[in-house]
C-alpha cells in the first residue's frame, strides 16, 4: 500500500497563505481605497483561518488514527505468521508422532496381540491426543478378546474331537483284548488282534497328544506304580517301531501311580522322535539309572542329529520353557516335542536334549525323587518268606524312596532299598558288624543273589495251619497242588477274566 505523502509542513504555509489570499481577495472586491476594505480583508482572513484550523485538526486526528491502524495491521500480520508457523510445526510433529504410533501399532502391538503375548503400551501416550491413544488401546483389547474367544472355542472343539477318537481307540483295544482272551490258543488270531491293538494304542496316543496341546491333561492316574523300565516299554508300545527300543538299567526304581500315564506319554513322544529320526534298522537304546536327585531315563538315537540352532530351539520346547500351542504347530505339525514340553512343565519332569555319542540326539528325562517308588521284582519274593501269606505273589511294594544315604559304603550308585516283609534274609548272618547296609551290590546296583546250592534245605513250615508260600516249596503238598490245579482250571475257562494285569 502506497503511503500518502506526508504533508505536515504545508499546513503552516497554507494557514498563512490562504487567509492572506482571502484577505487580498476580499480587499480586492471593493473599490480601491474603500474604507471598508481592510475590514473586509481582515474578516475574510479570520474566516479562512477559522475554517482551516478545524480542518487541520481533523486532518491530524485522521492521520494519527491511520498510523495506529497501520501499526495494528502490521502487528496482526506478524502474529498471524507466528501462529501459522507454530501451527504448522505442531501439526507436523503430531502427524509424525501419529505415523510412528501407527507404525508401532502395526509392527509391534498387533503382532503381539496375535501371538498372544504381553502387548507393549502406546509409545506416545502423553503426547498424542488421549482419544487417539485410548482408541488404539480399545482396538487392541477388542482384537485380543475375540482372538481369545476363538482360540478357546477351537481348543475345546479339538479336545472334544480328540476325546472321541481316544474313546473309540480304547473301545477297539477293549474289543481286541477280549478277542485275544477268547482265542489265546490261536496264534493267528492273537497276532492279528495284537496288530489291531498296536494300531489302536498309537491312535489313542495321537488323540491324547491333541488333548494335551489343547490344554487338557490325562484325567486318569495309573492304578499302581510301574517300574521305569516298564514305563519305557509301555511307551514303546505306543509308537510304530516298538521292536527297536531296547531298555536296560535299574529294574526296581518305579514311577508313582499318579505320574505313570504322563510319563509314559512323554517317553513315547521322545521314543517316536528317536525312532523316526534314526535309520530303520538301528536299535534305540534306553537306559534307566538312579541319580542323586531321582532317576533318569536316557534315550539315544543313531540318527544324524540336529544342528546347534535346531537343538537350541528343541531344548527350549522339550523343557517346557517355550510353550507351543495348537495354533503354533503349522501345516506340517510336529507335535512330539511340544507335547513333551507341556508334560514337563506340568508335572515337573526335567527334560533335556544333547548330542548323543551314538551320533544322533540323546534325550534325558529326570524324574524327581518325590515321584519315585521302589517296585519289587515280578513274581514271588526270591527269598523263602515265612510270612503266612496264602497267595505267593506279593503286590509290588509302594514305599516312597528313602533319602539317599550319604557317601555310600559300597561302590555303586545310591539305590533305593526295599524292605521285604517276612523273615530274616537267609545266609546273610555271616556278615559281621551292625552295618544295616545289606548285600553287596553289583555294578548295576542290583543286589547280588547268593546261590542256594549247597545250603541246607529250608526249614519245614511252622505249624501255623496256613499253607506256606509256594515259592519256598519246590515240591508242593498234594493239597497245594490240588488247589493250584483247581485254581488254574477255574481260571482257564473260556469266560474267565484275564489275570488282573490285563
Amino acid at each position: 500500500m502506497a503511503r500518502p505523502p506526508s504533508t505536515p509542513a504545508l499546513w503552516p504555509v497554507a494557514m498563512v497563505v490562504l487567509p492572506c489570499a482571502v484577505a487580498a481577495t476580499a480587499t480586492g472586491l471593493l473599490p480601491a481605497g474603500h474604507p471598508w476594505a481592510p475590514v473586509a480583508g481582515g474578516a475574510g482572513a479570520v474566516l479562512a483561518l477559522g475554517l482551516l484550523v478545524p480542518l487541520w485538526r481533523a486532518y491530524r486526528a485522521t492521520t494519527g488514527e491511520l498510523v495506529r491502524a497501520r501499526a495494528e495491521v502490521a502487528r496482526r500480520k506478524s502474529e498471524l505468521a507466528r501462529r501459522d508457523r507454530q501451527w504448522r510445526g505442531y501439526t507436523g510433529r503430531q502427524s509424525a508422532l501419529l505415523r510412528e504410533e501407527c507404525a508401532h501399532l502395526l509392527a509391534d502391538r498387533l503382532p503381539t496381540v496375535f501371538a498372544g503375548g504381553e502387548v507393549p503400551p502406546a509409545k506416545y501416550r502423553g503426547q498424542l491426543p488421549p482419544a487417539v491413544v485410548s482408541g488404539f488401546d480399545r482396538l487392541i483389547e477388542d482384537i485380543a478378546e475375540r482372538l481369545a474367544d476363538r482360540d478357546t472355542a477351537q481348543r475345546m472343539a479339538v479336545v472334544a474331537l480328540a476325546g472321541r477318537v481316544q474313546t473309540s481307540a480304547h473301545r477297539i483295544q477293549c474289543a481286541v483284548t477280549a478277542l485275544a482272551e477268547r482265542h489265546g490258543h490261536d496264534p493267528d488270531v492273537l497276532e492279528t488282534a495284537m496288530g489291531v491293538d498296536h494300531a489302536a494304542t498309537q491312535q489313542a496316543r495321537h488323540a491324547q497328544s491333541l488333548k494335551v496341546l489343547g490344554g487338557e491333561w490325562p484325567g486318569r492316574a495309573g492304578d499302581e506304580p510301574l517300574a521305569l523300565v516298564d514305563v519305557v516299554r509301555a511307551a514303546s508300545g505306543r509308537i510304530v517301531a516298538y521292536r527297536r527300543v531296547q531298555v536296560a538299567g535299574e529294574q526296581e526304581v518305579g514311577a508313582a501311580a499318579r505320574i505313570t500315564e504322563p510319563l509314559i506319554h512323554l517317553v513315547a513322544e521322545l521314543l517316536a522322535n528317536a525312532t523316526e529320526c534314526s535309520p530303520p534298522g538301528t536299535v534305540v537304546p534306553v537306559t534307566v539309572r538312579t541319580v542323586q536327585r531321582g532317576a533318569v531315563i536316557e534315550i539315544d538315537d543313531g540318527g544324524s542329529g540336529m544342528d546347534d540352532n535346531r537343538m537350541g530351539r528343541a531344548r527350549q520346547v522339550v523343557s517346557g520353557r517355550r510353550p507351543v500351542a495348537l495354533a503354533d504347530l503349522g501345516e506340517v505339525p510336529r507335535t512330539g516335542f511340544a507335547v513333551v514340553g507341556r508334560f514337563a512343565a506340568r508335572y515337573g519332569f526335567q527334560v533335556d536334549l544333547s548330542h548323543s555319542p551314538y551320533g544322533g540326539v540323546r534325550a534325558v528325562v529326570l524324574v524327581g525323587r518325590d515321584d519315585l517308588v521302589t517296585v519289587a521284582p515280578l513274581g514271588p519274593a526270591p527269598a523263602p518268606s515265612r510270612s503266612p501269606a496264602p497267595v505267593p505273589p506279593p503286590a509290588p511294594a509302594r514305599r516312597e524312596l528313602a533319602p539317599p544315604p550319604g557317601p555310600p559304603a559300597v561302590p555303586g550308585p545310591p539305590r533305593p532299598r526295599t524292605e521285604r516283609s517276612g523273615g530274616p534274609r537267609h545266609a546273610r548272618t555271616a556278615d559281621p558288624g551292625p552295618d544295616p547296609v545289606p548285600p553287596p551290590l553289583r555294578p548295576s546296583g542290583l543286589p547280588q543273589r547268593a546261590s542256594r546250592r549247597g545250603e541246607p534245605p529250608p526249614a519245614p513250615p511252622r505249624s501255623t495251619g496256613e499253607p506256606p508260600p509256594a515259592a519256598a516249596h519246590p515240591q508242593p503238598t498234594p493239597e497245594e497242588a490240588g488247589e493250584w490245579m483247581a485254581d488254574y482250571f477255574a481260571g482257564a475257562g473260556p469266560d474267565a477274566p484275564e489275570p488282573p494285569k490285563g
Binding site: 483295544q173 492304578d223 510301574l226 523300565v229 516299554r233 505313570t260 515280578l378 509256594a470
Partner: protein, 120 residues
C-alpha cells in the same frame, strides 16, 4: 479316559511283553510243562525284561508253565512265548510231564513196603 465303558487298559500291551511274537517257537510247551533254570546258563542280558528275569528267577525251583503264568499275572499264551525264547536262548530247560526225579523210586517204595511189613 474315563467314560468308555469301564475299560481300563494296562499300560504294558501284550505285544510289547512278547516283543511282537505270538507263536511260541516250541510247540511242545504246554500248561503242564515244567521249567527249570539251566545250570550252565550265564546271567541274562542287561536288556532282559522284568518278565524274563522273573521267569528265570522263579525257575530256580521247578515250576510249571501254568504256575509261572499265575505268578506273572499274564495270559498263558504270552508266558508260553516268553518261556520258549528263554529255552531257546539256553536259560531255561523244559521238561515235559512228571520229571524223573519226582517219580517215586522203585527201590524206595520197596523199602517202605518192607518196613511196613516189618512193623506188623
Amino acid at each position: 479316559m474315563t467314560g468308555n465303558g469301564g475299560y481300563r487298559d494296562s499300560a504294558l500291551r501284550p505285544y510289547v511283553i512278547t516283543g511282537g511274537k505270538f507263536r511260541p517257537s516250541r510247540a511242545a510247551l504246554g500248561v503242564e510243562t515244567l521249567l527249570l533254570r539251566a545250570e550252565t546258563a550265564g546271567p541274562l542280558p542287561v536288556t532282559a525284561t522284568r518278565e524274563s528275569r522273573a521267569l528265570v528267577r522263579m525257575c530256580e525251583r521247578l515250576l510249571s508253565l501254568a504256575e509261572a503264568a499265575a505268578h506273572l499275572k499274564l495270559p498263558l499264551s504270552l508266558v508260553k512265548v516268553l518261556a520258549s525264547e528263554l529255552v531257546d536262548a539256553g536259560y531255561l530247560v523244559a521238561r515235559s510231564g512228571i520229571p524223573q526225579a519226582a517219580r517215586p523210586d522203585m527201590e524206595l517204595l520197596q523199602e517202605v513196603l518192607d518196613g511196613l511189613r516189618r512193623l506188623r
